[in-house]
């Protein structure tokens, strides 16, 4: 698992990032920012949704507190990913490497790193993150410099790139593991509930991701815990004696599965 393996795995991410970052730069320029601003934000932030929201807030003259709160809500999912990635990495990473790799935690880098069957190395992770970072910053710079040059049809088609990549990560896992399939089905149902229900759909994406994923995952982890080696630990029969916080989760399970 070398730097070059990482670069190769980062390629589909970079491809998807170019279009998203391109769109971000154009929206920032249209909001009245000078061309260097979206590039500076992309270089320092390296996050999708958060950049769109934050840039819009700055354009609207929002206060610092509002900016902090919005960024926190949208980005708090990274903390979940960061904890999960930290477990997968295990020991052997000095603090400075962790501090550096932290910057590259994005939905896509995380998703690719976590599904890797081999042990993660510093070289692999930096390769992965460098490649996608280049796509991200490159796409932003192109968008800022060129503006609305790509045909609308191409931009539209590229819009599905990152979603399709996520599908390619969850479907094979769901096919092999019935519990993952159940989790994916529950999460999809919960997400649709928040997307289509009148009052619930006013909640921001950041909250929806956190609420749906934490509740659904807690239910599945509680019912089907895994042992150290990845096999099942006996399933539902010992579910009753383990959790003081079971009732609220049970309720939402019924909600979700309706």
């Amino acid at each position: 698992m070398k730097f070059t393996n990482g670069l190769k795995d980062g390629l589909p991410i970079a491809l998807g990032y170019i279009s998203v970052a391109f769109a971000y730069a154009i929206s920032a320029i249209n909001a009245g920012f000078p061309f260097w601003f979206p590039i500076l934000v992309s270089v320092t932030n390296f996050t999708g949704t958060g950049q769109f929201a934050g840039t819009n807030l700055i354009a609207a003259g929002a206060g610092i507190l509002e900016l902090i709160t919005t960024m926190l809500v949208i980005n708090i999912r990274y903390t979940l990913m960061s904890v999960s990635l930290s477990q997968k990495m295990g020991g052997g990473f000095p603090l400075w490497q962790r501090a550096l790799l932290s910057f590259g935690v994005t939905d896509e880098n995380y998703a690719v790193a976590i599904r890797s069957p081999k042990k993660l190395t510093f070289g692999y992770l930096t390769g992965l993150m460098c490649c996608s970072f280049c796509g991200w910053v490159g796409g932003t710079a192109l968008g800022a410099a060129l503006g609305d040059v790509l045909p609308r049809s191409l931009m539209s088609a590229l819009g599905i790139a990152l979603f399709a990549m996520f599908v390619a990560i969850i479907i094979p896992a769901a096919r092999d593991d019935k519990k993952v399939l159940l989790l994916v089905a529950m999460s999809t149902a919960a997400s649709c509930l928040f997307y289509f229900t009148p009052v619930l759909n006013r909640l921001s994406d950041g909250w929806v991701i956190i609420i749906c994923s934490v509740v659904c995952t807690a239910i599945v982890a509680f019912l089907f815990p895994k042992k150290e080696n990845g096999t099942d630990a006996g399933g539902g029969q010992n579910a009753g004696d383990a959790g003081g916080n079971a009732p609220p989760e049970g309720d939402s399970a019924e909600e979700v599965q309706k």
């Binding site: 500076l40 998703a111 990560i169 999460s187 997400s191 649709c192």
Partner: protein
């Protein structure tokens, strides 16, 4: 927008984003042994990704029909375990073709 408001804004965005990203990697360095938390961390990526993908993927393109076509292609190819790049490019192509067809008919 003044230069000052842009730079301060960017700094705030950077700080909050970096803190959320680094919290887990820097603060939770020990191996977690509790089997429920372990299981939670094993399962969470699939849930987060599913929530982010559905139903957003259907509305990620210019028309619902091209979104459906792209989604179908991605689902089928990934069911047969094609790689990330293949699934992604095929899905983009499906969207592009369907949108050309729609334009052609309309």
């Amino acid at each position: 927008m003044t230069l000052k408001s842009m730079l301060i804004g960017c700094l705030v965005m950077f700080a909050v984003t970096y803190v959320t990203k680094a919290a887990g990697l820097l603060l939770v360095r020990k191996k977690i042994t509790n089997k429920y938390i372990q299981s939670f961390l094993y399962y969470i990526p699939y849930s987060v990704l599913a929530v982010m993908v559905f139903p957003g993927i259907l509305f990620s393109t210019a028309s619902l029909w091209s979104g459906i076509a792209g989604t179908a292609v991605a689902l089928i190819l990934s069911y047969f375990k094609r790689g990330l790049l293949v699934v992604s490019v095929a899905s983009i192509a499906a969207v592009f073709i369907v949108e050309q067809l729609i334009n052609f008919i309309a």
